[in-house]
Structure formats: C-alpha cells, structure tokens
Symmetry: C2
Subunit: 148 residues, 2 copies
C-alpha cells in the first residue's frame, strides 16, 4: 500500500524541527553537562518548581522511565534536588538548585539562538503568523489530552 507522506506534513515538520532544535540546543549546552532534552525539564521546573515527578511526566508528555532517567542525571549534576512529598511518602517533589537557576539564562540564550536562526529568512509578518498559528494548534493539542 503506497504511503502519502503529504497527508501529515505539519506533524512531520514539527517532529523534524523539534529534533533538530533539541540537537542544536543540547550541543550548545554540552559544556554544562545538560544532556539531550534535559533542558526541557529545567525550563519546566523554572515555571513549576516543586512539581511531583509524576506530574512532570504527565505535563511534559514524556514517559515516566525517560523522566526518571533524566532527573537522575540532573540530580547527579546538582541541577535539581528531590524531596519526599510530605503528603505521599512514595512520591518525590522536584526542585531546581541554585546552580540550575544560575544556568537558566544560558539555557534561554541557547534556545533563543536556535529560534533566531530558523526564523532568519521570515518576514516579521510571517514570524508573527507562524507564532500565532502554532500557539493556536498547541492549545488545541492540550485540549485533546484533557478530554482523554
């Protein structure tokens, strides 16, 4: 049966862009021993410090095994600390350390650098258009998961 990849080209470009972006940012952060995709966890904790490991997995849509592995590495590198949840002794809450807070501007700069490069050939109008449309479909994506 022939496959027509044109049928899902938006999903394809998003996947390609994400993987290229993650690779670019991870390379920029290599010196800081922040491994592939781990900066996404740091960024999320910056807005949700003290979230449980399970909620982090659910919120980021990254499976629990991968989250546990990344959190272990970030803890080993002293970017995060885990504290047992006083309400549920089997669960951990995850917090950024001062080292992580000090590193956040570098993480932010690496992502900004990536974004600047990919939008370099767009007009200001096109840049605003893609940002607005991505915002719209991302919110739609969230609403689906809420209804599952």
């Amino acid at each position: 049966m022939p496959l027509n990849s044109g049928q899902y080209s938006i999903a394809k470009w998003i996947s390609i862009l994400h993987r290229n972006g993650q690779s670019y940012v991870t390379k920029k952060l290599k010196y800081y021993n922040i491994g592939s995709g781990q900066y996404i966890i740091l960024l999320n904790l910056y807005s949700n410090d003290g979230i449980s490991q399970e909620k982090l997995s659910d919120y980021l849509k990254i499976d629990k095994g991968s989250i546990a592995k990344s959190i272990k590495k970030l803890e080993d590198e002293a970017y995060i600390k885990r504290i047992i949840d006083s309400d549920d002794k089997r669960a951990y809450k995850v917090f950024l350390t001062q080292k992580a807070l000090d590193t956040m501007p570098i993480v932010q700069k690496a992502i900004e650098s990536w974004e600047e490069v990919i939008v370099a050939d767009l007009t200001e109008c096109e840049r605003q258009m893609i940002e607005s449309l991505l915002n719209k479909i991302a919110h739609k994506a969230y609403s689906i998961h809420k209804c599952e």
Copy 2:
C-alpha cells in the same frame, strides 16, 4: 535574573506540539508494541531502508544511545532486522521487515489522526500557511546542521 519565555515562543510551541503528538501517536500504537518515538524510526526507514544505524542517528538527530535502544526493541518485536554492512563489518544496516511494512498504514493513520485534530479549528488558508512556513523553517534548520 528574570526570564522572558516570550523570546522563544516558536521553539516552545514546536517542542510542546512534538511531545503531545508523540504521546498521542504512541498511545494509538500501544497495541502494536511500538514504543515512544519508535514510529519515527519506522517512518524514516520506510524512505531510507537499509540505512546504517549511525546515519539514522545523524539524520533523525536522536543520540546514538537512544537510537540503539529503540532499534533493539523494534528488532525484538520483529519490526526491523539488522544486517552487518559488507563494507564495514563493525556497522549494521537496518531494514524494515514485512511485519513493519504491513503495519505502516496503521502508523500513518495514527499520525494523520493527530494532525486532523490539531488543525481542526484552522481555516484552509491557515492550514496551508502553517504548512508552508513550517516547511520553510525546517529547511533552514537542516541547512544549519549541514554547515556545522
């Protein structure tokens, strides 16, 4: 130091959309024992059957360790087979099995379903616009990696 997340909102939406999409598609494929992100490898092999494991990692921008782990699982589930490269006895070429080829329309349908849902509220003009702009920035992203 305050962080202004608005500075890299395109990268942020792309990352959120990719993770939500991967989670959605992986759930749809759960019955087929195709784990998180593994369908991306299958799709890529469909266009590049017989590619080396190393090239697959480079092309997909997924680190070698993660690719090796996913390929092992796909091999255990009989979706792919690895054959020693006759030109380099230390390297493997990766091929889809008949089982994988038979499953591809299901993988395709899961991705199409995801894309249909996220673009449901867009007009036809907006859909074409976002596809065209994503195509443009994805090609820009590729050109950066080529120059590194």
